[in-house]
Every structure is written in C-alpha cells, then in structure tokens.
C-alpha cells in the first residue's frame, strides 16, 4: 500500500486538471518545467536562425573569400582613439610579420574605420530559397570592397567564420531531424507490428537488432560512411549519411516500441477492446500506439543530438560530409588540430553552437519525459 502517495496523486490531478485531455495535461506539466521550456525556446531560436534565415543573419555569403587569410576576430569599437564615444565601427586589417614567433598576423589598422550598420546591404541571396534579397542583419557601410567584418575571425581562405558557422548549422541541424524522422517511421512501424503480431517480422526485428548490438557501433558507422564513394555528389552523400544514421538507429527504437507494445497488449483495456471485437488495426493504432507515443517522443528527442553528433564526428574524421558542403562537422576539420588551436583558436567557435544544440535537446527531452508521464505522481 502506498502510504505516502495514496492521498496525493489522484486528488491533486483532479483539482487542477479537471476534464483535460492527456495532451492538455502534458502541456500543463511541461509549462511548469522551466528548464524544459527554456530548451524548447532555445531550440526554436536555434532552428529558426540556423535553418530558416542564416543568409540574413550572416554578414557574408558562404563562399565570399577575401585576402584576409586566417584573420583574427575584429571587435566592434565604440570609442575612437581619443576615447570618445562613436557610432559602432571596425578597424581595417593590416598584415604584420611577428619576427619573434615567425608568424604572419593581422593587426588593426587604425587609420581605416568602417562603420557597422544594422540591415546593411551586402551579398545577394534567396531568403527561404524564394525571395531574392541583399539585406543582412548587420554589415559594414562602406564602399571599400576590401573591407570586412570578422566577428569570429576568418578561415584559411579568408572567409568569414561567423557566416560559415551559420550556414553550416543548416546541414547539421537538419540531418538530425531527417534521420530521426526516418528512424521513427521505420522503428515505430516495425516495433508495433513486431510487438503485436510476433511471427516473422518479430524474428527479423529481434535478430537484426541483436546483430547490430553485437556489431561494434562506431566502426560500423565509420565503415558504412567510408563506403560512400568519393565521387558522389555532396547532396547524395548527405542523404546517404542520413540513411545510414537512420538505418543504425531504428533497431533500438523498434525494440523499445516492441517492448512497450508487448506490455500494453496485456493491459486490460487492450483486452477490453478485443473483447468487444475491435480489429487488430484498431487495437494497434487506437489503443496501443497512443500509449507508446509519449515514450517514443522522448526517445526521439533524446536521440536527435546523437545523430547530430554522429554527423559532426564523421565529417570531422573525413568520413561524412565533405567540402564543399559546409556543416559543423566539416568546419571542425579545420579547427581540431593542435596547430589550429594554437594559431587560429577562434575556429573553435563552432563548438559552442554544437554543445548548445545538444544541451537544449537534452533539456527539452528531460522536460518532456517528466511531462509525458502525468500519472506518475512525480513533481
């Protein structure tokens, strides 16, 4: 007998959540989880800025090269040399050779000042692939074609690194969603069928997932992606990679869904539906599937970051996406060497957005996990 909880759960739910549907309840619970809501909001912002409008946010086009090879970040200045407050501007860059370290570096050229403006005109682009525009969130207001603003520095081809991170996010963030979508479609369908009917499908799902489990995971990823021919077009490679991620991911999901269906199938409400003559399809999709959805959503949310990371890691190792495709993984290729860290540490700026994405997904997933289980009587 649950001494402590017996009085609590039922009555509490009753008071505040009277006559609400399951999803209303979930929403009500989720809203109260501050970390989860924060995760959801941040994720929305991330996807909006990296997937929908990176062209607008980025000051330059993806392949906009300049002579400023490996230029360090140029901070926005508000004070001129005499310390007077001014409209924001950046200095020009000047090449200097450091005799001691035998390095070529860039230093601010205080003789050149370029004012920074919001909604500045710059490289042409198509917003959402539809609307031709040339306005960027910010940029330099100057006629000097050579002037650049590098908030996060420039890479080895003199391209603005901030712009590249913004563009690169699109592929990295989408691969997680796409891959997860495929995984869900495969895993849930096969899982439900396998759990409900058993038989050959069940055998196949079981043996396949067992085999995948016995196969070392990371190498399988790598071996499969290594098998993608180098001459394929980048887009094909991208989709192949998505399919590989989904292919390796569905087994686990199917197994979990199978387990859930197996337990739900013996619930008395499923038996009740059967006793009234409900068809198998109706039992599966009206009674069993909704019961698994909450878990599926949580699992899916929590495994998207894994997919994003897999892309990042594979591309970083040169086994995933390859240039000219720009993703966080390919950007990492330039950043993750001891030499790069020593001499161009700003290239590591690609790491924070990756971490932020992973963290927000985890926050959202954790919040959902609590919210989707409203009968648990927890917090």
């Amino acid at each position: 007998m649950a001494v402590a909880t017996a009085p609590s759960s039922v009555s509490l739910v009753k008071k505040k959540e009277l006559g609400q549907s399951y999803w209303d309840l979930v929403w009500y619970r989720f809203k109260k989880n501050r970390l989860g809501v924060l995760g959801a909001v941040l994720l929305f912002v991330l996807y909006f800025s990296f997937v929908v409008i990176p062209e607008f946010l980025a000051p330059y086009a993806l392949e906009n090269r300049s002579r400023y090879v490996e230029a360090p970040p140029t901070p926005i200045q508000f004070l001129d040399e005499e310390g007077r407050f001014q409209a924001p501007f950046v200095y020009g860059l000047e090449r200097r050779v450091d005799q001691v370290k035998r390095l070529r570096t860039w230093v601010p050229d205080t003789t050149k000042k370029y004012p920074v403006a919001l909604f500045a005109q710059g490289d042409e682009y198509m917003l959402l692939g539809l609307i031709p525009m040339n306005v960027h969130l910010f940029g330099l207001q100057t006629s000097d074609k050579d002037a650049r603003i590098f908030l996060l520095g420039a890479d080895a081809l003199g391209r603005d690194y901030l712009s590249r991170i913004l563009y690169g996010g699109r592929l990295s963030l989408m691969i997680g969603l796409l891959g997860q979508f495929l995984t869900l479609a495969l895993g849930v369908t096969l899982g439900v069928i396998s759990g409900y009917y058993g038989g050959p499908v069940d055998m196949f799902v079981q043996r396949f997932t067992e085999f995948l489990a016995a196969f070392p995971n990371i190498p399988l990823f790598m071996a499969l992606s290594a098998a993608i021919p180098a001459f394929w077009s980048p887009i094909t490679v991208y989709f192949m990679l998505t399919i590989i991620l989904a292919f390796l991911g569905w087994g686990g999901l199917a197994r979990q869904v199978r387990g859930l269906v197996l337990s739900l199938r013996e619930r008395e409400y499923a038996l009740a539906a059967k006793s009234f003559g409900a068809s198998d399809r109706r039992i599966m999709f009206r009674h069993l599937l909704p019961g698994t959805m909450s878990h599926v959503i949580v699992i899916a949310t929590l495994s998207i970051p894994g997919m994003i990371l897999a892309e990042t890691a594979l591309s970083w190792l040169g086994l995933g996406l390859r240039p000219p495709l720009t993703s966080w993984g390919t950007l990492l290729q330039d950043a993750a060497t001891v030499r790069a860290i020593r001499f161009t540490p700003w290239l590591l700026w690609v790491v924070p957005p990756i971490l932020l994405t992973i963290l927000t997904y985890n926050m959202l997933g954790d919040g959902l996990r609590d919210a989707l289980d409203p009968y648990s009587g927890r917090g």
Binding site: A214, P216, I218, L317, A336, V338, I341, V351, N362
Partner: protein
Amino acid sequence: MLNYLIRRLGYALIMVVLVSFVSFVIIELPPGDYLTQKVEQLRARGDRSAELQVEMLRVRYGLDKPFLERYLNWAINFLRGDFGESFEFERPVSDILGARLGYTVILALATTLFTWLLAIPLGVYSAVRQYSIGDQIISVISFIGLGMPGFLLALIILYFSIVVFNLEVTGLFSPEYRDAPWSVGKVLDLLSHLWVPALISAITGTGGLIRIMRGNLLDTLGQPFVEAARARGLKNRTVIWKHAVRIAINPLVTILGAEVFPSIIVGSSLVAIVLNLPTIGPVFVDSLRKLDMYLAGTCIVFLTIMLLVGNLVADLLLAWVDPRIRLE
C-alpha cells in the same frame, strides 16, 4: 551451466565469423582499394614508377585475388595468429596493435576505475538525499556530462591548456620521456598526462552512470524489503548499502561488461585522436579511413570478441551476484 557456456561460446563464434565477413564486405564496398588511393598520391607527387610499384604491392598483399579468396586466406591466417600486414605502415598488424595494446589497456582500466569509483557513490548520495542541494548539484553536472561529447570536451580542454595555460597535454608522455626507459620520472610524467583523459571520462562517463544509479536506487528504496530491513532495526547505512544498493547495482553489471571490454580496443577513439594518445583507437579509425583492410578487419574482430566476451562475463557476473537469475 557448462551447457550454457558451450552454447554461448558457439554463438559467439558464429557472431565473430559473421561480423568479420560483413566488415570485410563493407570495407570492400567503396570503389577502389587502398592502393588506388596510393597510386593517386604517388601520381600527384609526380612519381613515374607508381603504377609498377603499386602492381608489385598489389601482388604482395594479395589484392589481385578475388574477394572471397582474400577473406578466407586472411581468416585462416588469423586463426594461426597472423593478422596480415598493414598497407599504411607496411608492417604486420600484430606489431602495430601490440605496440599500442599496453597503453590502451592501462588507459581503459584507469578511466573505468576512475569513472565508477566516482559515479557510484555520487549516484547513491544523490538518491539517498533526493532533492537536497547536493543532489541538485550532482544532477545538473551529470545532466551536462550526459550530453557532452568526449571529443568536443577534449578540444575545449586542449584549447584552455594550450591557449590559456600554455601547457602541453597531448599524448601520454612529454617528448623527453617518450622513448626513455621506465623510471619514477616517467611514471610521474605519465600521471601528469593521464589526468586529461581521466577528467574527460569523469565528466562524460559518470553522467549516465550517476543517473542510472540514482534512478535504480530510488526505485529500490521504495521497495518493501527496504522498509522491512529498517523495521528489523538495522542501521540506516546498512539498510542502504547492504540491502538497497546491493540490488540497485545489479543492472549496472551489464553496462560494465558491454563497455569496459570493448573499450580496451577502441576506448573513446575520438578523444584519443584529439589528444593524440598512443592507443589502438586512432590507428583503427585511420585504417578505416584509408581502407587499410587487414588492420581494420583485425580491429573489428577483436572488438567483436571483446564485446561478446564482455556480455558473457556480464551475464555470468550477474548470475553470480543475483541468485534470481539462472543460466540455462
């Protein structure tokens, strides 16, 4: 029991053969082989005799033979202890792996020990003092660690040690000790490098363990037998450790088997690549990238063996610690 062992081992053998074959197929999938890559490199360098040289190598490595024959040859030699030759290093696979095995094992054991010794007590504390400040701090840290990919963390640590502290932390030894014979100084030097992978595993590896331990223990603490033990007049500490933790820790044994043994071969290869550690992981990743098939194949086979052995050991261990489980 013996029956069970024989069946499990037979099953494992089939699995190893299957996995090794499939991995060979997968490595075979990309068009061309290691040598086509090499030819291109040599050509790019303007080496005129490339074609001839490569043809010789092709015969030497048996790459001119059909796939199945190559696999069978390699598999039979494998049983004799000859794992083939690495194209990249032009040395026997066993030499390459053997040289790195020692460090890999040391690193795997050290990080595992460190992770578990840290995670279990923290998980127990977190569960026993549920919702206390300590629990919340541990929860937040483990939550972050859970999502933190090791190789990115390694990059961050590298950044701070190089750019901020100007410290050399890559590798396992400083240059002056790298080829020196073992001495107290060398051991100290090793320890001064070992903290980086240890720290990384502490952050990334403990998170999940702490969460699992906490969850399991909370479930167990709610069980009637815990209350019954308390009602017998046992000390709180005895109730928690002897009755609750003893049960809650069982599922972790499975994780131990599935993680520790494979990690001896490729324990966090990505971290090892970033930190330039002399372990098997980086070589393995590189061999996959370069289609160095005998090296890659050997690694995969050993990895599979380790995984299967790990699972078997975990199952045996579980049956040993939990009398409810019977092996049949």
